[in-house]
Symmetry: D2
Subunit: 284 residues, 4 copies
């Protein structure tokens, strides 16, 4: 789907011994074999619109322009690896993470298939334009009691984690912005006893009440802006402030989906696992 | 506007000497004079829908039911005080924070006046119902370079801070969820030189690129669900799981606005000030 | 023993409900009723030798001179309260903390009695001088496995905690500085099986190997310098750098012991409890 | 001096661009080429006295026995690299770190030369025994004001850093344990004005007062126990608790010095640099 070809080999450096984790931090290395500095020569002194070129240059007075440097979405790859490990641990607890692309540009669906996604994206690719998307994530079977009151509420930490993903511009838990248009009488989740445990009849809350999981599905959405690397000339300035135009070269994705989907799952897995460990300290 | 009367006296305990801050943590105490445990007797063993009663009870095996305990929005008050101090410091740097109520239930505006808010809320109050809202915040005149790459991006930390506010269900920076429906050609912010400095022609990004402020207004929105304390009977269960109905007593707000507005400003002020201090460590 | 009379009333502000902890932070307030600013007027612009006056003034450009401000040993009192709570929790796990004064000035003992301490100190008091001391602490019955490799070794965190106590100048675990003069053949702790568990025959290590507790007694020592408030004129400078003499007024202790002993225990209790909670996250 | 030959090649992975740091974390990799698992086969199921074998096995239920795993002093090597970078930055500020071996076993000196160290160690090597040591470190030309009151005092953080070094058993700042035997009249550092700035006449404090640097030399000592790998049979138990003897094979140092000296400097450099950055946030 992505036209970039980057065989990512993960070399584990520490933390594993005879196939098991030892408690030592698991370090691993993924070398970026695909980066060609020459691809980026023309952006060396020019700021690409809505990229991090300008802010990095201003913040640090220097920037590694090749491949977008630290602002590149490539830097998310280690999170996907870490998330894969977290997901294995969660699975051993019966916890599952599911995610769906539910919006691309103006098209919405309960869950776009890979073919549907590719069909939509190819349209934008032909127009040399890019497009935004919304991904929905669901964490299933979490125990009641994850999340800490006040400043480490489950959904607050989840929001931070999701907003660290490149191009993320919005986050919702449960009804999200929709809740602003609702009445309490519509939005409240009444309790019931299902024969085994206390449940809510509805899940407008998205599985979190008072910042703490209530055992229902944790349902959240993340909005992503269009990838800024459009394939036609844009107006910008160079490092001296001179007006210029830039035409971005190289191979670029049209949309964060489908690539970003495993990233959303990885971040959700890490946040959930962190809170599961933290919950162990809840009581002596 | 709020029908609860709580004279909040702030007693400063440390950190001030002859009218100046000393570098010692500023501790202060606000006693909650208005709480009457008797008001809450009927919720002692019953879980109010969409409150934190159930999750706190399950997490800790005990809960202080009076006044909602730690889940009460009253616990945000110290943040407002801290935010007021942060705002003074920011003001000395020329940084200003502004906020507006832009949606109450299904009504939207660029900025509702106090009278408009009260008129809308009184309608819901008469119906013994509650309603959600959206607040927009703007941080003006921030320097370029606030925010840290990767996991402490400016808007990611801001998102976490906003989602810690009671009843918050959604967060957007810049175009937010709207960006998902846009093309790169619409959403990118081209650069220009305004004679003094490099600026962007538009501000779809909401003042943040790559997680770092670019000097434009930081524009964000926070969605709040309706306050769950509706004033008519709701179905729920008690602590043993028995079905029951609850009718919430006491004095309750109809909507988080207007009370939540200073809280949004306070959180934005603290996040901004934290990053200003952090930026000092950017270079040796 | 101390000639200062300060009735310390602890008012609990949060975290307790009907006699039990709720999981909410336990906040408490101890008002300093004994401070008289007038007692400290003569040190307002003059730096007391080996006090924190000079460093605070230079660091912050302002200092609260009354009672020594934040540099006062009074600020340790809340730690003693927190430590008392920690000790209750540890006791419920069978863990006990014991401490002994083992050196005052040049006199050493396995454990000075209160009378002995008072007898020695009164001698220094008469001479208007002060004196240093060493306190030994022992944490008994800790589980094997407390402490984290690398940067959070049990004894490293304990060292930091002890060195935060006012006037602390040295820390030892097990043989401490004595170990530098030993051979491996003398200092190694050989293992044995005592019928129930693996133990060491000796405890030169002081209960910690590789930064992790091994189940033996955790034995450590903390050295304290003489209290700098000697009661005769000392040469110093004022805030402008002018040479002057200072004669410290007010009521001052002669030695950190016996006051510091509960502080040593409190810090040991908090460090131990922190690691017990952390150990819960050791395995999923 | 060490009989182990391990050519340590440092490969920098990130954070440098065209010879300059970019603000991105500086990651580097040092592969341990010298480890032979076969050297450690005989300790696979047996606990070496005063090593971390037992505590790691008990804490994690698994251990990487080859080369001592995470408990190996080899793990300190990255700190030496990081410290070397910190020292360059400190040097640009005029700050210098010096260290001396001042005690090996029962012999003391103001500063042992390399030849003297080797001569002493060869004696212990012949006897197949090991020995402890004391290293003194001095940080020169630090600004006044490094260190934070209460829990992040300069010397408390320095103590923690030093106690994380393998085999460290004691830490002193200034007079250290010696201060316990002193009177205030001996131990206080009186102030004077040297024509340019306020200084102390003596430096019993070791450059820190109230946890904050006063501009004098920061003088500290670290005591190390003998390396536990003595070269003759020791009594111990195996993983089932059976009594056995162990004779440690492989190549082992006789003493932590001289290897540990750069480690002491590295840790001091990192602590000092951290506080220099932190001090920038002291005032707005």
């Amino acid at each position: 789907m992505s036209t970039r070809k980057e065989p990512d080999v993960v070399e584990f450096l520490s933390g594993l011994f005879e196939g098991k984790t030892t408690g030592t931090p698991i370090a691993f290395l993924i070398r970026n074999k695909d980066a060609k500095t020459s691809d980026y020569e023309n952006i060396k002194d020019v700021f690409r619109p809505s990229h991090a070129d300008f802010t990095y240059q201003m913040k640090y007075g220097i920037r590694d322009y090749a491949g977008g440097g630290r602002g590149s979405a490539r830097t998310l790859l280690p999170c996907v690896v870490a998330g894969a490990i977290a997901k294995q641990i969660l699975a051993s607890q019966g916890i599952e993470i599911q995610s769906d692309v539910i919006q691309i540009g103006e098209e919405r669906s309960k869950s776009f298939s890979k073919d549907e996604i590719e069909r939509i994206l190819s349209r934008y690719r032909e127009e040399k334009d890019t497009v935004g998307a919304v991904v929905q994530g669901i964490v299933k079977n979490t125990p009641v009691g994850l999340g800490e009151p006040a400043f480490q509420k489950f959904h607050a930490v989840l929001a931070q984690a999701m907003m660290t993903i490149n191009a993320a511009k919005g986050f919702e838990i449960g009804e999200g912005f929709n809740a602003a248009g609702m009445r309490g009488s519509e939005c409240n989740d009444e309790f019931m006893f299902d024969g085994k445990q206390i449940r809510t009849k509805t899940n407008h809350s998205g599985g979190v009440q008072g910042g703490i999981t209530n055992g229902e599905d944790i349902v959240f959405k993340v909005a992503f802006k269009p990838i800024p690397s459009v394939m036609y000339p844009q107006q910008t300035v160079d490092i001296q402030g001179n007006a210029t135009t830039i035409e971005i070269q190289g191979r670029h994705d049209v949309c964060v989906v489908p690539r970003v989907v495993p990233m959303v799952e990885a971040m959700a897995a890490m946040v959930t696992l962190d809170f599961i460990l933290l919950k162990k300290c809840n009581k002596i």
